[in-house]
Subunit: 372 residues, 2 copies
């Protein structure tokens, strides 16, 4: 059952609109599916998508919200609030609990919903429970979504969830699946800017390598401040290797302690950043971080996992990996650790990727605090 809240597309498709003196054509409607739509991250994200700040002021959108039986009434409430907000670009809101209905013709799938870890739950259990959700959603995407759907996985453990999802969607290019590490990149930029006493926009070329867990590697070797390598601007190597790295890795946990809940608003902002970075050209010489499929990567990272790496986009929704990065011994050793973790996670979900029997030999617990 899919409930349509409002549906004004038919009034506008192929029509024109007037802004000031100019008459412009509307672009073709974009279908955006969101799972976990009644949660706090989505509550921020949906209103950002509807306001036009993600896809632009001349791009009508349809929101397709996936919830659960438990959250269905809340979803109705969200849809009502979207109605009450009178967003001119929002042409359709529909809500449902069946991914095969909600993902129909999706151009973007933002997979936010995931089960949080309950008390006493082992990490292997969490990987299995969430993995099943993402296997199912991968199958649904494969069956009904646009053949070029772009998928951003936010629900944790997001790298391995993205891997499971793409393995269950063989008819969609594996390249189209992303695990969100943009919040980590943003946090790293913020800390480098504060340390150097510059505004954020002076910090560029920041890569988050690997898993969205505490093994993630914020790369200060290739990062730049005002176009100069960070290590020439911030000469405190101990700070970079220890404090900075840990501050980025553990920022979410500090926030939860202060704020009493996880960082929904800044996560939503980073999802906006991630989408925008795929639909607008990456500034010359810069790059963005995203957890993407490793097939054919130039960094020597194990194939067939989802690993955060530096990407550049022409603004067509697609990306290419950046080639001109330096990897020194320090960086290589850190990358190896986060790679080992992702390979272990992969073995642990083999039953969900169609690769045989799962073997769970996970290293120490490195879940991000927000995801426990």
């Amino acid at each position: 059952m899919l409930i349509q809240f409002f549906f004004f597309f038919f009034f506008f498709c192929a029509l024109t609109y007037t802004q000031g003196e100019e008459t412009k054509s509307w672009k073709k409607l974009i279908n955006i599916a969101i799972s976990g739509a009644a949660g706090m991250i989505s509550n921020h994200l949906l209103f950002k998508l509807a306001s036009g700040e993600v896809f632009g002021p001349d791009q009508p959108i349809a929101l397709k919200l996936l919830g659960s039986e438990r959250s269905f009434e809340a979803l109705e409430g969200v849809a009502m609030e979207l109605e009450d907000s009178l967003f001119p670009l929002l042409r359709e809101v529909s809500i449902g609990i069946d991914a095969y209905e909600v993902f129909q013709d999706a151009d973007w799938a933002l997979l936010i919903g995931a089960k949080p870890r309950g008390p006493g739950m082992e990490r292997a259990d969490l990987l299995d429970i969430n993995g099943q959700i993402f296997a199912e959603q991968g199958k649904a995407l494969n069956a009904v979504a646009s053949r070029n759907v772009k998928v951003i996985v936010v629900g944790n453990p997001c790298n391995t969830n993205a891997l499971i999802c793409l393995k269950n969607a063989p008819d969609i290019p594996a390249k189209n699946f992303h695990a969100l590490t943009r919040l980590d990149e943003n946090r790293a930029k913020c800390q480098l800017a504060l340390k150097a006493g510059v505004f954020y926009d002076k910090v560029s070329n920041v890569t988050i390598w690997g898993n969205h867990s505490t093994t993630q590697v914020p790369d200060f070797l290739n990062a730049k401040i005002n176009g100069i390598p960070v290590k020439e601007v911030i000469k405190d190597t101990k700070w970079l290797e220890e404090e900075f790295t840990e501050m980025v890795q553990k920022r979410g946990g500090v926030l939860i302690k202060k704020w009493g809940r996880s960082s929904a608003a800044s996560t939503a902002v980073s999802v906006v950043d991630a989408i925008r970075s795929l639909v607008t050209p990456t500034p010359e010489g810069d790059w963005i971080s995203s957890g993407v499929y490793t097939a054919g990567n130039p960094y020597g990272i194990a194939e067939d996992i989802v690993f955060s790496m530096p990407c550049r986009s022409k603004g067509d929704g697609d990306y290419e990996l950046v080639k001109d990065v330096i990897i020194d011994d320090y960086l290589r050793s850190r990358i190896k650790m986060t790679e080992a973790e992702l390979l272990a996670e992969k073995r642990c979900v083999a039953h969900l990727t169609g690769e045989g029997i799962a073997v769970c030999d996970l290293p120490g617990d490195t879940m991000l605090p927000g995801e426990m």
Copy 2:
């Protein structure tokens, strides 16, 4: 104690920035003070303010967040999330619990914080408790804010809170104080559009008259759809007088039941709409609703209260009342009821407006469900 989180204004003031080929000058920084800054409405609103969607893409802003001792750690969390979002226009975030510090030089004060009604609390008690907060904040604004500060009161009961606030700020023009009824206006527009089967932007000239309570009067007499009076488009008078009116009045309550919490996101959207409507010219022939001081109003409404009425702005932050509205017997009788309620509320807070001893002869309980 006022904690400054980041402060980049000095890098940019009076400098220029480059966008594409053009070089533009930054505008002067706008100071925005927000009370109840750790709450859910603020959590949406702050990120909207910071993203530039309210004051525009070339307008740097400073956010000054007022919280309580209890919410101070949460405020730190909010400030950290704002940092992590790398908003280029956000030049300063400071947090504090003393209104005399936080409101310093405020150009805008968005007063969102208010105590919700506890179990068994009488409405008179709520008026008194919240009234004291707004009396104190009025004094602080009077002492330290910009002499032309614009104040939008969101915390309920917002009309009477705004009255108390302006009475305690005699050095600031009473005209600068608003009680938010924009969410009610948006809801009314949405219902009229859905009933008529048109898109929202075809609905104009919608006034909410009176108190932001269930006595509010959504005006379908002066409202238009595609420039034609609503009553000529929707000929179902019974629906307009009964269902429509009640649907708008009780929308918040229905939402709380569905969603399990009050409508923070759409309230924040309506605050954005309210501010934008004061800083951009009102479209020719249209108007917006705001709860404003009644001195010298042309509708025969009692003087010296805060009453929602139709306003038009030149986009300079100021407004004028609309003169060409029709008031028939039905509308007049409804306006009288909401006026009587506001006069009773005023008598009930006389001790807070400097007008003697309070007499609480409140009519039946008409608090909006979200505010109980």
